[in-house]
């Protein structure tokens, strides 16, 4: 055994060493990595120069790696993409705009051209949309659907479509495509595959592969390059998912990552027309026209909006109008709703003034009574009017009239203003009332219908009367004419007043009364009274008779003053009574006492009469003696006798105050008498009565 080993060592020692070294290289992962890293760039370069297999193989790995990196370190990618994100977005927008412009171009071209009309007709005829017809007719070709089909099971692995629709039966179509291929192969006993067939406008291309094949439905005439693209995609699918294809048992989810590649094959090409510049011009013109229309519409809109706002502004500022709801109708009638005072301005002219046709506005007013100053004034003016020269103002809810205003108008206002809603008070301090003479005269005539002989006229504010009038008419006129509005003074100097005697007498009687013992009569202003009357009555008549209208003079010559007569008679009785005394005594003589005893009643009668005459009486009790005896004794006697009488009278109940005792001097002897004699007639007391007023 050792020999054999030895022999081996001798023969194969170099190879064994090499082998060991190789093993060492292969078993050391670090070393292997180093070695691979030295050749990897070169290998990658060679591989990518040959075909895209390496890139395709690396795609999922790189994709996963990038996805993972973004997830774990987003900031790194944000910083990396930041400088280029702007240009990318700009370019993307520019591309979209260009696409939009092209599509607009196409639409315009087809909308306004003869061909466009034809296509519209076709769309109408076939029931397709116009866009669809345009697309189909202006199409060179379009790959509409691509199916990736598993060769062995005929099951669909992946399907992409240019339209959103058209994917529902994709799996059945895939199976039928397989069946058709089997059928043709069996029918014609050939080994090759069916590569393409045409159904109407559709052509189906089938690109065979080892485990799967691609079927593309194409509208129009596709170029040969499409075939290459499809082949490359199919090849890529085999490269990336070869094992999955071989082991496919019905779950197609594994092939979803191929969708972008398949979608990239949904090529389409449209017919080009020569007039590219013309199209651009058309497009610009159309865009310009649209912009101009937009601007014009905007201006119209703005103007209409401004007018509407102006109108609403003026309308809401209008007194007596309160807006509650407004709606601008652009294509239908506009609406304005609110409250409106019956006297408020008509909104129609306001609308017209703002440049809006009132016919295009539907007004919906609810009536109300506005209380603002203007509306109140309008309401007042509507009711009463305002005469020239007068002015009416409303402050708050107070009405103020100023200027000059006719009396009649003012009177109506005074009567009627409380019935105007919203007005609380009326002030006419500043108003100057004017009177129409004719109306003043008419009012006078109504108040005091004048007799035909009277002429009346009003001048200024003075009523002039002339002619002949009964006292009974003129009297109330004098009393009341100046109380009539417009008459400040009365001039009746030219009126001759006529008195009816009976009425004059009646007035006299009603004023003074007429005692039964008196007869009265009036003739030519003279009142004649006859008969008897008390002094008091007479006194009143004397004093006042001529103040009775129609009595200018009093004739009382035939009238007896009863009280005066009574007084005179009584006075005479008393003054003719003598109370005689005894000689040299203060004692009454018998006849003297008889006379004295009658006196108290007479004095009382006299006093009563005097009082009726408005006065009282003073009674002088005059005592006297005969001439016999000395003077002093006689004076004593006289005084004593007068006192005796007074004492008696007072003792009869008469007032002492009315009495005055006066001792008369001794009567001088009659001439020629030798010596004094006892003259009985001188031993007496006499009386003198004075009427005191």
């Amino acid at each position: 055994m050792d020999d054999f080993e030895e022999l081996r060592r001798l023969l194969l020692s170099t190879e064994q060493d090499d082998l060991r070294a190789l093993h060492g290289r292969l078993d050391d992962p670090e070393r292997r990595a180093r070695e691979v890293s030295s050749v990897l760039p070169q290998a990658a370069k060679l591989s990518s120069a040959r075909n895209g297999e390496l890139s395709r193989a690396l795609q999922p790995v790189v994709g996963d790696s990038v996805r993972e990196s973004i997830k774990s370190k987003p900031q790194f990618f944000i910083e990396a993409f930041h400088p280029i994100i702007g240009p990318i977005v700009r370019r993307s927008i520019a591309e979209s705009l260009r696409g939009l412009m092209q599509s607009l171009n196409r639409s315009l071209e087809h909308t306004f051209s003869w061909q466009g009309l034809k296509w519209r007709l076709e769309a109408w005829r076939t029931g397709r949309s116009f866009a669809e017809v345009v697309l189909l007719r202006s199409l060179v070709y379009r790959v509409e659907q691509i199916f990736l089909i598993h060769r062995e099971t005929s099951l669909l692995l992946l399907h992409v479509s240019a339209d959103a629709k058209g994917g529902d039966d994709s799996d059945m179509i895939a199976s039928m495509l397989s069946a058709i291929q089997d059928f043709t192969r069996d029918s014609f006993q050939v080994t090759g595959a069916l590569e393409n067939f045409r159904i109407g406008e559709l052509e189906v291309w089938i690109r065979p592969g080892r485990d799967a094949y691609l079927a593309a439905t194409i509208r129009g005439e596709a170029p040969v390059e499409l075939r290459t693209a499809l082949d490359e995609t199919l090849e890529s699918a085999h490269t990336l998912h070869g094992s999955a294809l071989a082991a496919f048992t019905g779950d197609a989810a594994a092939f979803e990552p191929l969708r972008p590649e398949l979608e990239a094959c949904l090529h389409a090409q449209y017919k080009q027309t020569d007039a590219a510049t013309a199209r651009t011009t058309k497009a610009y013109l159309a865009v310009g026209a649209a912009a101009a229309m937009l601007v014009a519409a905007g201006l119209v809109f703005l103007r209409a909006e401004r007018r509407w706002n102006d109108f609403l502004h003026h309308l809401s500022a209008e007194p007596g109008i309160a807006l509650t709801n407004t709606r601008r109708g652009w294509f239908s009638a506009s609406q304005v709703a609110g409250l409106r005072d019956p006297l408020a301005a008509d909104p129609g002219p306001l609308a017209r003034k703002a440049g809006i046709d009132p016919q295009r506005i539907r007004f919906d007013w609810k009536q109300y009574l506005a209380l603002d100053a203007t509306s109140l004034r309008r309401r007042f003016e509507q009711r009463f009017g305002v005469p020239a020269g007068a002015a009416v103002a409303v402050a708050g809810r107070a009405l103020e009239v100023s200027g000059s205003a006719p009396y009649e108008w003012l009177e109506t206002v005074r009567q009627g203003w409380p019935q105007i809603p919203g007005i609380d008070s009326l002030s006419e301090r500043a108003v100057q009332v004017t009177f129409n003479p004719e109306l003043v005269l008419a009012r006078f005539r109504t108040a005091f219908p004048p007799p035909p002989e009277v002429t009346a006229r009003v001048d200024g504010e003075t009523l002039h009367l002339s002619g002949k009038a009964a006292y009974e008419w003129i009297a109330p006129v004098r009393e009341g004419a100046t109380r009539l509005p417009g008459i400040a003074a009365l001039d009746d100097r030219e009126v001759k007043v006529a008195f009816d005697p009976a009425l004059v007498l009646q007035r006299f009687e009603s004023r003074f009364g007429l005692p039964d013992s008196v007869n009265a009569g009036v003739a030519d202003g003279v009142l004649t009274v006859a008969g008897e009357a008390s002094h008091a009555w007479l006194t009143r008549v004397r004093k006042g008779a001529t103040t009775v209208p129609g009595i200018t003079t009093l004739n009382e010559s035939q009238l007896v003053d009863l009280d005066q007569t009574a007084f005179t008679q009584s006075k005479s009785v008393i003054e003719n009574a003598f109370i005689y005394f005894l000689v040299a005594k203060v004692n009454f003589a018998t006849e003297g006492f008889a006379a004295l005893s009658r006196l108290p009643d007479e004095i009382r009668r006299c006093q009563t009469a005097a009082k009726r005459l408005g006065g009282d009486i003073n009674v002088e009790i005059r005592g006297s003696t005969d001439a016999v005896g000395n003077a002093a004794k006689n004076l004593e006697l006289s005084t004593g006798r007068a006192n005796a009488v007074q004492d008696f009278l007072v003792s009869c109940g008469l007032e002492a105050a009315m009495f005055k005792t006066v001792p008369l001097p001794v009567r001088a002897d009659p001439a020629g008498a030798a010596k004094p004699v006892h003259e009985e007639a001188d031993r007496r007391v006499s009386f003198h009565i004075q009427l005191q007023q």
């Binding site: 005929s154 039928m176 069946a179 059928f183 779950d251």
Partner: protein, 166 residues
Amino acid sequence: MIQKKICLLGGHAVGKTSLVAQFVRKKYADTYHTTIGVKVDKKVITAGATEVSLMIWDLAGEDDFGPAEVSYLRGASGYLLVLDGTRRASLERALAVQQRAEEKNGALPFIVLVNKVDLAAEWELGDEDFSELAARGWTLHRTSAKTGEFVEAAFQALAEEMLRRP
């Protein structure tokens, strides 16, 4: 979702197309149209917890003018072998078709459907025929494309059988 291709095999006029129509669209028409080549239909069912999209290939029946084209069977996960209980000839044809199918595509799960059970009184096939088939280890079901009897269950049974296989 998993897709499975299944086929219907059998003699002509045994009711394959009617079975598919009953299964997929719940419809039955008394009029007979012969199938030329193949007609594909689809129905999604749930077998166990799995949604299965069945791609049903309805193949032209075998008749005196030519054999059934079993090449369509390629890639199928299973098939239904259909007989007509009223015609003994359909049994022989079915056996022949099955044999060719197996030769060409290997052993696939399949279920034998003895159709037209609504005409049971007129059946030419009897229990001994069925027990002979059962002796081969085949699963048999009596179905009626007309009334729908056991049609859905047959497809369901086949789908579950297919899913059991790796």
